[in-house]
């Protein structure tokens, strides 16, 4: 059982690797009508590669979003840390393409490989459709986007949330589970990626449900927390503390008492935010990351980074990870470069973060940082991070777990080969054993 993942999305249909013509690839797109397939092929024929790629991509993303929306918008809001999203929000306005792909992977709609391929396609399309793209989308890049869209989304007549996920979610909300339950044993043993999803399900229910569902969620949270606390990342712990503060502020006695008991079991009260100030910082940091993964990101980043920076230099502890991720994502950029104006401001803000907080980041956060780890596999991002750490003399950190220390040392030495290997390995560890 130890190597089996609890739920995992399908790997998409198998498209022979030697197929590289649009008509051959779109023939697999069972989700498109013949007319729609023809439109992609025709656009390609007249060398309107961007039109063909964008059409396929939009169709794929719409399908993915529709599938995710079946879980209910409030739950989706909880999954992505956006309390402003409720059942009245529309999926299009709530989710960026990047977030959609991340969620789809988390919910078992697509596989990890599918998520990597779709993220690459998203980065390509985001770059070529940006204002400052100096060249047009070429036919090879367009084929790549179309192929990923078809293979993982459009080829399936009906993509869906993984049944194992839906079943387990139902059990978490409708039953008071026992420690000897095989699914509970599996979850306790699961990688962080799954624990995060389970915590999102439970916290969403604790905040929004009542009656039997609320009681079950509280019982299951209290059952699991002792066993998973050590594995949870810092941001996950802050989420639990924030949920406690939210239900207490809302006057929800049952939920507040339940989460309080869970926090007591693990001595987690240090993760309860003291005031609402951190919410403003978190919201601004999330907005930066949303823009970072969208079209025209280099053009739009300065405004949102300025907004985050304008909140002040004293970042509240509960929002520290989100803010560091946002500034780092902007400063490091992506494979096509970075927003020069925004990166300068992000660099300035990162340099003002205290040595203690950087030490905390390398000791406790970096190994579970799903935003920054993927970036470090890119040579230019590795180089920029290394340059930053050396320039501002954040080079004297020693007390951290082995993997973190090796990655940190490799960053200081600007050893990209090593940084690449360790960051990929740490990122995989979040999802697999």
């Amino acid at each position: 059982m130890s190597n089996i993942q609890i739920w995992q999305g399908p790997d998409g249909v198998s498209i022979p690797s030697n197929l590289n013509k649009t008509d051959e690839i779109v023939a697999f797109a069972n989700n498109l009508t013949d007319k729609q397939k023809m439109q992609i092929v025709q656009a390609f024929k007249i060398e309107a590669y961007d039109m063909a790629a964008e059409y396929a991509w939009k169709k794929a993303m719409t399908k993915l979003k529709e599938t995710i929306a079946t879980l209910g918008m409030r739950f989706i809001g909880e999954m992505i840390g956006r309390p402003d999203i409720d059942e009245y929000s529309t999926i299009d306005s709530a989710l960026t393409d990047h977030t959609t792909i991340e969620l789809a992977e988390q919910l078992g709609v697509i596989s990890s490989t599918g998520a990597i391929k779709l993220n690459q396609a998203n980065e390509l399309i985001t770059h070529f459709f940006s204002k400052n793209a100096s060249e047009e989308l070429d036919n090879i890049s367009a084929i790549q986007i179309i192929k990923s869209s078809v293979q993982y989304i459009l080829a399936e007549a009906d993509i869906s949330i993984a049944i194992e996920f839906s079943n387990f979610r139902n059990r978490l909300l409708n039953e008071s589970l026992q420690i000897r339950d095989s699914q509970v044993e599996q979850i306790i043993d699961a990688p962080l990626f799954y624990l995060r999803t389970v915590m999102s399900i439970l916290l969403s229910s604790v905040k929004n449900d009542n009656g039997a569902k609320l009681e079950n969620s509280i019982a299951n949270l209290n059952l699991l927390i002792n066993h998973i606390w050590d594995k949870l990342g810092e941001s996950d712990r802050w989420n639990l503390g924030t949920a406690y503060r939210d239900v207490t502020a809302a006057g929800n006695t049952i939920a507040s008492s339940g989460v309080k008991n869970a926090l007591l079991k693990v001595g987690g009260f240090d993760y309860v935010p003291e005031n609402l100030r951190s919410v403003t910082f978190k919201k601004a940091a999330l907005a930066v990351l949303d823009i970072h993964y969208q079209f025209n990101n280099f053009y739009n980043e300065p405004a949102v980074v300025r907004k985050l920076a304008s909140l002040g230099n004293t970042i509240p502890a509960p929002a520290l990870i989100d803010c560091m991720q946002a500034y780092l994502a902007v400063y490091l950029g992506n494979s096509y470069g970075q927003s020069d104006i925004a990166a300068i401001l992000a660099e300035e803000k990162l340099s003002e973060i205290s040595v203690d907080r950087w030490a905390y980041y390398f000791e406790k956060v970096l190994n579970n940082d799903e935003v920054i780890l993927p970036k470090l596999s890119l040579k230019r991002c590795c180089h920029r991070f290394s340059h930053f750490l050396n320039k501002y003399e954040f080079t004297e950190f020693y007390d951290m777990p082995k993997d973190n220390k090796q990655l940190y040392d490799a960053l200081i030495e600007n050893n990209h080969k090593k940084v690449y290997t360790i960051s990929i390995s740490l990122n995989n560890k979040i999802k697999k054993k």
């Binding site: 409720d86 207490t248 809302a250 006057g251 929800n252 006695t253 007591l264």
Partner: protein
């Protein structure tokens, strides 16, 4: 031979009770703390500041670390060696600050006394600090002890710990019913037909506001009517009172605050809760529907008496009897000036 005089003082008796309370709670017993608490009780049982009555509440603990378990704001005012005067000074300095849900805290640790004020208010709907320390949300700590001291009626102070409860009445009158169970019962009737999903939150909110209002008032009457046009019309046509053209719908206000989570909705709810407190402390009956709507106040009920019923009480007590007999209300609540409470339901 001289006659041996037997002396019974209220002070000695209360001191004994405090000692026993502290022992059961696991406080390290010492005379200074025991006398200090007695002084606190004595002071807050009838506290006045420049002619105004104040109702400060006090949390006594052996370790302020327990505040970590409550999202809160603390203001330390002073720290000094442990003396009885230290307790008195704590109340004198902090009582004027302990308004709008700020509560005095006193930490007794290592022969030192540290005090200040603490608030757990984050939004209008936040759970009260009492609820979070020794109420529904209390948790037992390994080495931390807590006692919550508050005035619950004329010259009557309640000490609540994590394990036991002590009510100290500093008068020689009959002990009145000071338990909050009647207040909780009337609030349950006010929220009886509220949307199930939000009932718990509405209940908690109204409990906090009404408890607060009753504590500072000089006696109150609350009536609950069914939220049907016929029942409301019948009540209004036959009784004088001030009926609001637009009822204050606490259910909607709370749902709005919860959904929008913005300053405007929170301030809106705060404004209406202060008007509710004022109406509750006005003469006459404050009227709610069983869906959480405040429809009127200052209702002066005509006498409704059944054959053979005798009531030698005051006007409020007579009104309470009429409320039970008149067939307008499904439930009603009474609190006398001296703190005695009664609840009736159909």
């Amino acid at each position: 031979m001289a006659i041996k005089q037997k002396q019974h003082t209220l002070r000695e008796h209360v001191l004994d009770s405090i000692g026993s309370f502290l022992h059961k709670e696991g406080f390290t017993p010492d005379d200074v703390t025991q006398d200090g608490i007695l002084e606190v009780i004595n002071l807050i049982s009838d506290y006045h500041e420049e002619g105004n009555s104040l109702y400060p509440e006090v949390i006594l603990t052996n370790d302020l670390d327990f505040f970590k378990t409550i999202p809160n704001k603390e203001l330390v005012i002073n720290e000094s060696d442990l003396t009885i005067d230290g307790f008195k000074k704590a109340i004198k300095l902090c009582a004027p600050l302990a308004l709008d849900n700020w509560v005095i805290f006193i930490e007794v640790k290592n022969n030192k006394i540290k005090y200040g004020v603490v608030s757990a208010e984050m939004t209008e709907t936040s759970l009260s600090i009492y609820n979070q320390t020794v109420g529904d949300l209390k948790i037992e700590y390994e080495k931390i002890t807590i006692a919550y001291i508050r005035n619950i009626g004329q010259k009557t102070v309640e000490l609540t710990g994590l394990k036991n409860n002590l009510i100290v009445s500093l008068t020689l009158d009959d002990v009145k019913n000071n338990s909050n169970s009647d207040i909780l019962s009337i609030i349950a009737k006010i929220t009886e037909n509220c949307i199930i999903k939000h009932k718990n939150i509405i209940n908690t909110f109204l409990t906090k506001v009404i408890l607060n209002a009753l504590r500072i008032g000089h006696g109150n009457l609350i009536g609950v009517v069914n939220d049907t046009p016929e029942d409301i019309e019948k009540l209004m046509s036959e009784n004088d009172g001030i009926y609001l053209p637009e009822p204050i719908d606490f259910q909607n206000l709370i749902i709005e605050t919860e959904t929008e989570k913005n300053n405007e909705t929170s301030v809106n709810l705060k404004s209406y809760s202060s008007i509710l407190k004022a109406m509750l402390n006005h003469d006459g009956i404050t009227i709610f529907t069983n869906t959480g709507k405040l429809i009127g106040y200052h209702l002066l009920i005509k006498e409704h008496k059944k054959d053979g019923q005798v009531n030698n009480g005051g006007a409020r007590s007579k009104a309470f009897l009429s409320m039970q007999n008149c067939n307008y209300f499904t439930a009603c609540f009474y609190k006398s000036q001296d703190g005695n409470m009664k609840f009736w339901k159909l």
